[in-house]
Amino acid sequence: AGFIKSPLSQKRLAQDSVELYCEAIGNPIPEIQWWFEGNDPNETHAQLWDGARQDRVKINATYNLHSTSTISIANLTADDSGMYECRASNDPDRNHLSKSPKVKWIRSQANVFVIERPDIAGNFLVGDGKVTLWCNMSEPQHTITGHKWIHKEKTLKEDNEPGASTSYTFEGTVEEHSGIYECIFEGNPQTRGQVNISVPPQVTAYKKSEHGNEGDTGVLTCKNPSFPAVTTWSWHKSGHGVSARLENASGRYIIKSSGNKTELRILKLDIEQDTGDYFCNATNPLGTGDATVNLRVRSRLAALWPFLGIVAEVLVLVTIIFIYEKRRKPDEVPD
């Protein structure tokens, strides 16, 4: 028996997971076992099985042409640090209790280091038309090789400094730049922190003024692109000085809302009733915001006048052309 692939030593952060991979070949196909020796001087080798350590250990083995085995440990703690051994043997007597000293198990080792998650404190400062985000790592357990700032899957800034704190400054207001910002400390392993810029809803109307045809369906839309998402939307209509909350009671209003958008559909538009200003109001943990949309309902006959005008123009022109031609005919030989 011999190893095709040996497990690799790795460093991990607490609460992360780790995977070790081992492959062996032989005839007959060897069996693979995983053994662990902790860092404590008192500890001895102990075998690991599928479901060990409160079901945090999973072992997946296949024995086809050759043996492969993958051990994965989830939710790592400091006690998981130590030396992991992949042992393989194809001796038929390998698990025999009395003959164990004679049996040969080939071994391959890997070290797993579990590092305490360093505390990363992040915050932001506003001043002077600029916003500054910063992250501080309190007790770095390893060497930091660089930093990166990410927002909405776009990299804002990266560098190769070894410092335990990093900052990012941009121009603008928090209202325009709300959202989740991640600060990443590169190294072995990589650690991330998060800074949230939260603002009250910055509500805007899709279109400040909407048109609809009488009898058709009118759609008014408001959106909130800021963070965090809106928890409640409501629509109000102002008319005759009174602001009434719009409900679905009459069956003509349909409101569809999501965390960042709301849509008010009005069925069977009526010129008198539905023309006017509509307010969409949004609430989130930090406050409220609203916007106004104006709805104009066109009468069905609005297009009729230009239509009749153009038809009249066509008739007039055609008549003129034919009359002109008839009047020329007697005078002139048609060419």
């Binding site: 297009a303 005008g309 153009i310 066509v314 022109l317």
Partner: protein, 496 residues
Amino acid sequence: PAPAEAGRVPGPPDGGWGWMVLLGAFVSIGFAYAFPKGLAIFFKEIQDFFGTSYSEIAWVSSIMLATTYGAGPISSILVNRYGSRPVVMFGGLLCGVGMISAAFCTSILQLYICVGFITGFGLALNLQPSVIIIGKYFLKRRPLANGLAMAGSPVMLCTLAPLNQFLFDNFGWRGSFLILGAILLNCCVAGALFRPIGPGTAQVKTQVTEEGKDALKGKITEDGPMESKTEEEGEKDCFEKVNQYLDFSLFKHRGFLIYLIGNVLMFLGFFAPIVFLAPYAKHTGVDEYSAAFLLSILAIVDMVARPATGIIANSRWVRPRIQYFFSFAIAFNGACHLLCPLASSYTGLIVYSSFFGLAFGMVCAMLFETLMDLVGAARFTSAVGLVTIAECCTILLGPPIGGILIDTFGDYKYMFIKCGSVMVLAGTFLFIMNYYNYRMLAKEEKERKAKEEDPKSVRTENEGQKNWNKDSTQDGPELEPLKEKGEGLKKEMNGT
């Protein structure tokens, strides 16, 4: 040499009322080409209203385009029978009715019928007669007239696009369709301008003044719009009857076949780049407005290029060799597309759009002129019908094939390469075949000259493919635009 006034009145007036006819053709052709493209602005709203997918909406445009090109032969038959004016006026009426009924549609299927079929058919009835009547009113200045008339397409497009947007904002799509229906009725006005003119009336004069010509000519003295009436003799035969309306004998015409094959090939790659220019620009990172601006540049250059090409094609150096100029324009177009993938920056795209607009305008301006040049104004009616229905297939196939190429490879450059190579191939084919054609025509001309020494001077209409030469033998030598003045003088001597 100006057409003589007294005693020897030539056919096409090349001026006078012809300019009014040109104006009508300008409007008519403009609507026929620009209208389907202008409708795209309404699609998003209609799509939301009916709850259909984008491809279902796109079918409206495709059906309209297919009907406009596919109904070509029907249009030709009707013009052969009734003349241009009634057909265009009926076409305008049909367009108007189509769009007005579309304003009241309640399903996407009804839209297909109203906007797609009815309006498309109406536009087909607009397009062919307008092109045909230019051939009847102009001979010496025909390339210029064609160039000016075809310029209607970009001008109308530039007017229709913002107009459609304005109508849509103020009246919604239903109101806009209603008003557009009324606007399309203006095609009737254009049609009213198409005062009938026939080479038949001209023939009366020439027959009187030039005796001893071809016996067939005598029969042409009948008043009638088309010379293909020669087949009217003994029209008991069904085939001949069909031929009277639609001249299928054109398929034996060498020049016509060359034109047909070359053009069918060319249209495979003609429209796809326009369709994909804006998406390609957005793909390279340009924003929406700049992408739309590229199309505007294209339209503006196109607008200027068409009359300019008309003027150039009309000049003494180019007109006899107009087929070469046409092949060159096609190949130039193809070269532009082949070079497009090299343009990666926005400036490069602007340069490409300008050259593309130039090439596009050149080809479009001469599209019908070259066909007229090959088959003569007489058989042009049937020729244009047959050509448009053949082009119909490739026109519709072009953009989808381009789309498939883009989707498969994920890269626009293969579409440009395909379009460019198809057009360069078409241009080269036309160039070589027309060289051959010109040589054959010259040879036949020599044979005919030899035979004309014969007092019997009979030449059936199906021989002597160089029909503009033929026109001149019938209508008077001064109509021969540029070449062979010597021959003209000889005929004059024969006649008097």
